[in-house]
Amino acid sequence: MTVLDRHDLASSADYTELRHQRNTVAAVALVNGDVTSNLTRTQGGVSARVWHGGAWGFASAADDSDATVARTVRAATDNARWLGTRAGRSLGALPSRPASGAVNRFGTARPRWTRAQAVAFLRELDEHVASRYPQVTARTIALQALDMDKVLRTSDGADSDSLIPRSILVVALTVVRGGEPVRLVEVHGGFGQLEDTFDDPRALDGAIGEQVAHLERKAAGVHAQAGQHDLILDASLAGILAHEAIGHTTEADLVLGGSVAGDRVGQQVASELVSLTDFAHTALGQQCPVPVHVDDEGVEARDVPIIERGVLRGFMHSKETALRFDVPPTGNARAFQFSDEPLVRMRNTSFLPGTSTLADMIGSVERGYYLMRPSNGQADATSEFMFGVTLGYEIVDGKLGAAIKDTTISGVAFDMLRTVSMVSDEMQWECGGMCGKKQPIPVGMGGPAIKCRATLGGR
């Protein structure tokens, strides 16, 4: 029994949810061999959210005593009443699809690493880079682990207990060419706690060697030519396209805010080669990087097919947006900290694989670019997207040419996706970044390699 079980959520409010959550972050960073960051951060507490009279009230507190929980529920109820009285909205009852008795904890069964073990892992990796690649002038190597541990009860009968961990290793290497620093960052890992994600630092030797080789070619590389080009987006980069270009545009709260996707359900918005789904926890028989079985409104999470063979099918929903669209909630309401309210968020958004091979796709391009690694990205209500590209190569007559310097890709998703002419048969998941939308949150992003036409920044 948790502290939440001792509180009766049946009240005079229309709907109440109560969440007990603890996020734990462990972060260690080495810069050129020195430990520049060595921290653990825990944020835990209880929050309540109440829906009454068409308005939400939310309150949170950092301890979990019975008195605090009761006070927090009362404060959230008071807030909902205070605003509901003034807002004068009447939207009806929230839809309900509660998950009951759900336990989804993905913690390691192995002994936990001490901090000294984490530092030793990074030092071995760093010393390998320093000794094997003296041409690398600056090294930042960092481990970042996040555990999101939640217990949830709702007045419509949901109860859920989950632990979703993520661990990533960031390797940022710099060389200097002609007095100019050139950097390439690679991110390893994803789902799982450190002990289940990383083992032997030497297992990364091959990946580090490839990173240095790419970096040296990038240092000798050229600026991309600014303008529209034929592009092959590597599978490791297709996920951010799924996330930024389509994902955000089809979050129901953004649709209500005016997203162009709102008018296009049932329409052909992409090539027939394009299918895209926001997976809840399992895709093509494999567990996703951010497995969400129950969302933070207690809704049993289901996959959301967004584009099927080029046709826009639907949106991602919370309970409130589902009420407004008169559809069932999809389990996309997620909160980052205990003190955050759930928002409509993606979970694991991915293009589905096709039938081409990457080699054939590159071979089909007369003049264009092969883009391999993304950095940050952003979406828009117009479906115009952009994301940074930190590694890519020219393609000339179907063969890879010179590496290119950092650039940015952009396009209008519902135009650009019509240009997709090949999709590879292999897909890849990425889970290294945070999606930002009032709150940050880890998301999975996946896809196969894609041939399309879009705009690159450059000279």
Binding site: D63, A116, R183, G257, T407, T455, G457
Partner: protein
């Protein structure tokens, strides 16, 4: 909900850290009270109340450093956190640059409202939504947040530092786009801060100008062709460019040796017309910052003066590591000195270019190369602001752009956490 005894918790944490084996200890205890009114889709939607304590413990053991941050502020929570911080330090590596702040005279500060005026917040929120109804009916407020935050901070260390502040302020955030039939404009957002609720939200920062421009962006055009022209960077966009440039002055870039400004202290790094200050205590700042995160009193600091680089933005660790001076600021609260050119004349001098209101792009490279989309932006031709732009990529090198500043406006926008003018930067590839 009960307020925390931040000073008592901080002292207990120092004692616990030393007892657990720390040679030196530093503690920051923060209590944040937050009342946040939200509107979604043009209607009030959520009232959110949070009260949270936060401990940040630094332990130094044999020159090794561990940092433990937690929101458990009970005596047991503090004791556990202290032991954990010492364990973290013990598992690390020694570095002679690790240090806590040197002793300074105790100081205590207070600023702004310490309690929220909830009815007043609601009135200002509703007033903004009505303002939209009346004056910007095509614009949908995707979200509006009217926030009150009071943050009490106490920083103590084993060398005798005792710094305290209690600062309250209001923050206003709006995200919006315009809609006409099936046409949608790019979303835009703006943020302003204030010590009070005396003025309508629409009159703060860039709110009114950006709401007005939102509907004007319903009929955007692609740029006519690829060309090299001028950017007139609005105050809304200048902050993101400054953030990128000043990143080269911070710990990671300088410690790793990748900063393009590493050996440029005292040298001309931008056009001489540019003066950039970090002013955490300036009157313009709604929520002043009185001491840095690593335990030093702040000072308003001129970072670039007439184009000359006067100060890196190093923490104490970064300063010890590089041999340069520590910055008496966390490196925010930006104030850029005004120029002597009226805004109309600044734009009037541009033969061909872009009035860039928001930059959405990849992170600039260590050498300053950047590319990204000019969002919510307008074409400038023959000195006049023309149609809104879509699918417009701007590319160049930030370091070189700021060497070529061709004008700074007399007018500035006061955001409550920054005070910034319009800046004209020639030589950008626009495609």
């Amino acid at each position: 909900m009960a307020a925390l005894d931040c000073g008592g918790i901080a002292q207990r944490a120092i004692d616990a850290l030393l007892e657990a084996g720390a040679d030196q200890a530093q503690v920051l205890v923060t209590e944040a009270r937050n009342e946040e009114l939200n509107a979604e889709w043009n209607e009030p939607s959520l009232l959110r109340s949070t009260l949270e304590g936060q401990l940040s413990l630094v332990a130094l053991v044999d020159g090794k450093k561990g940092v433990l941050s937690s929101n458990e502020t009970t005596p047991d929570g503090v004791a556990r956190a202290a032991k954990e911080a010492v364990a973290l330090a013990s598992g690390s590596r020694p570095d002679p640059a690790n240090a806590i702040a040197e002793v300074q005279a105790p100081a205590s500060f207070e600023s702004g409202p310490l309690e929220p005026a909830l009815d007043g917040m609601h009135d200002r929120l509703v007033e903004l939504l009505r303002h939209r109804d009346l004056h910007h009916p095509r614009t949908t407020m995707r979200s509006v947040v009217v926030d009150f935050t009071r943050r009490e901070r106490v920083l103590l260390n084993s060398a005798g530092v005792d710094l305290r502040s209690n600062v309250g302020a209001y923050t206003f955030v709006a995200t919006f786009s315009a809609r006409r039939g099936a046409d949608t404009s790019s979303f835009n957002y703006t943020v302003a801060r204030s010590k009070d609720l005396e003025r309508p939200v629409a009159s703060l920062g860039s709110f009114e100008r950006l709401l007005r421009e939102s509907a004007a962006q319903l009929d955007p055009r692609k740029p006519p062709e690829k060309f090299v022209g001028d950017l007139v960077v609005t105050p809304d966009c200048l902050g993101s460019f400054l953030g990128a440039i000043t990143g080269y002055l911070r710990d990671e870039a300088l410690i790793s040796g990748t900063s393009v400004f590493a050996d440029r202290l005292g040298a001309l790094v931008t056009h001489p017309s540019l003066t950039v200050r970090s002013a955490p205590r300036a009157e313009a700042m709604a929520a002043p910052c009185y001491f840095t995160g690593d335990g030093h009193l702040t000072e308003d600091t001129t970072v670039i003066e007439d184009g000359l680089l006067r100060h890196f933005l190093l923490t104490q660790y970064g300063a010890n590591k590089t041999g340069h001076a520590r910055a008496p600021t966390d490196g925010d609260a930006w104030v850029v000195d005004p120029g002597d050119t009226p805004l109309d004349a600044l734009i009037g001098g541009v033969e061909r270019g872009v009035l860039i209101c928001r930059f959405s792009g990849g992170r600039p490279s260590p050498s300053g190369d950047f590319s990204g989309i000019a969002k919510n932006s307008f074409l400038i031709e023959g000195g006049k602001v023309g149609p809104a732009l879509s699918e417009t990529m701007v590319s160049g090198n930030l370091v070189q752009l700021f060497e070529r500043v061709a004008g700074i406006s007399r007018e500035r926008v006061d955001f409550g956490d920054a005070l910034l003018p319009w800046v004209r930067l020639p030589g950008v590839t626009i495609s």
